[in-house]
Symmetry: C2
Subunit: 326 residues, 2 copies
């Protein structure tokens, strides 16, 4: 292993100077700094994080706990976060382990900033792990009770925005396909806000792990106008996969027979139907930037409490249009 001492010897200075030079500390002539940088590069110097971490607490590394059930969207988000982080001189480490194990892993590797995508109330074991974790955990997405540092995503508002968009196009009966979450709340609120019709048939509660999912989707698709709603909001990309397959098979034309909005904007979505899909959800680029801003600046926050809301954007594409006349 090569250390700053090796570099010092090579450069003909002491290793204190090397440390200053490499860390952009003042008090080194630009000439020596450049020389030292060159030598470090040439010798392929890699700083020893453990040693750094012993002295000052910052590791310039952010750990990310990969959530289950968010496959594609999270992959895209990770890519963007990585780019953001690189630009700011941070490294990123991902873990696909169980959240509590991931936290332990990060702990072992001196990573003291963690981004945790939350989609439900936390388990007892994770709460315990969090307790003994020595660092900052930024919780993103859902806002469980008792968190003091989190970035909530306004899923409710997002779906409400989708309802509004459809209502403005002239739809009177808008259906919802998804699980019983905030998104559903946003849907029902939208119905009320925009004074829309409501039929129990228009709410299809299911998710990809539900054994009766196919049955439920089929039941929805089997109906025809005017029994079926003229527009549908699907609450996740995972469900959208399933729905698109069945809609294709059933020859339901989008958007002629059914306008469609999907939560979460992932590129793969638009390959599933003949037309690109209108989406709502946080903008991936903006979210990545926001995440990095928040977690890198948390040191300076006065209060021990930090809660912000991330707004969603509606991206109108060809899967939504005014309802066709009967």
């Amino acid at each position: 292993m090569i250390t700053i001492k090796d570099i010092a010897k090579q450069a003909g200075v002491t290793y204190g100077t090397v440390s200053r030079a490499l860390n952009d500390e003042p008090g080194v002539s630009e000439k020596t700094r450049a020389k030292i940088r060159a030598i470090a590069e040439q010798m392929n110097y890699v700083p020893n994080l453990a040693a750094k971490r012993m002295v000052d607490r910052s590791a310039n590394c952010i750990g990310i706990i990969w959530p289950k059930f968010e496959g594609l969207f999270f992959y895209r988000l990770s890519e963007r976060i990585q780019q953001e982080a690189s630009g700011r001189g941070y490294r990123i480490m991902l873990s696909v382990a169980e959240p509590e194990d991931a936290l332990a892993s990060f702990q072992e590797h001196f990573i003291d900033k963690v981004i945790h995508w939350v989609y439900a109330e936390e388990t007892a074991s994770f709460a315990a792990a969090k307790q003994s974790f020595h660092g900052t955990i930024l919780e993103v997405g859902y806002r469980p009770n008792g968190h003091t540092f989190c970035l909530e995503i306004d899923r409710k508002g997002a779906v409400c925005k989708a309802v509004r968009h459809l209502a403005e196009l002239g739809h009177r009966r808008i259906a919802f396909l998804g699980a019983r979450t905030d998104k559903l709340v946003g849907y029902t609120q939208g119905l009320v806000d925009f004074d829309l019709e409501y039929s129990p048939d228009d709410i299809v509660i299911t998710k990809p792990s539900d054994p009766r999912m196919e049955h439920k989707i089929a039941a929805f698709l089997d109906k025809t106008h005017p029994d079926r709603a003229t527009a549908l909001i699907v609450d996740s990309q995972g469900l959208m996969f399933e729905f698109a397959k069945m809609a294709n098979a059933a020859n339901v034309r989008i958007p002629d027979q059914l306008s469609l909005v999907c939560y979460d904007d992932v590129p793969e979505l638009h390959s599933m139907l003949p037309v690109p899909i209108t989406t709502v959800g946080p903008n991936v680029d903006a979210l990545a930037r926001r995440l990095m801003d928040t977690i890198t600046e948390q040191d300076g926050r006065e209060s021990d409490r930090f809660e912000q809301i991330v707004e969603s954007v509606l991206t109108v594409r060809q899967s939504t249009q005014a309802p066709s006349p009967p």
Copy 2:
């Protein structure tokens, strides 16, 4: 932060003794050991991993460099690798950074075992980074020149197997959609081996980043029997997304009008068409196990050279059937 020195003071011994006691080293009376343990517990002592790591530098951790362009398949593979690793007491860290940066990250964190998914000849900068990396890199997939520790995936053989399957079903004209890689070589070899017809129209060279991709796929789909082949092999899940969309739009029925085989078996694939898709490619579970076996046992290998081939499996599903009579 509480250290072994605090415990030592409390216990009335020196901190060397505390270290021995807490690490189950011999040379401590059971009585003092018990006492020290009790005090440590009571004081809520948490060992400082950075300091530990400074003296003995082993991490029991495997780093994985996330390849570009392998989105879904690699996500599935990672999940399986994680499970395998957990069972063996290893940790997993993923990096989505540029390969050379990822390597530096791992170095910083004392991760000395790395799995690198290779899909092409390596860049000069990565070769340099590899040079100075202090640890083992297992290269998987493609086998570039000069690698000494790698697990090659028999992509050529896989596609050849696909051709064979289609030939045995009775297809005489089989097309290929994909990039100019080993997979294409496997295809042409299959044509020769099984004495099939060959038409230049049956080879569509493209990939998702190709601006003319849509045009090329459309040209293929626009033809009808007997101008079009009766079966098609798609070389990647990414392309399959695009193809499925266009096939659906063009109302090409699978498998009635066209039998279809796709390389790489990812669950999402089967939501894209009305029928589940026949696939070839390495079995994810087996591959994960093989990877872990190889990388955890590499310490004991005598030779400095290790090369093995991973076979692929064909999973027949409903997207392939005998060609319909004209």
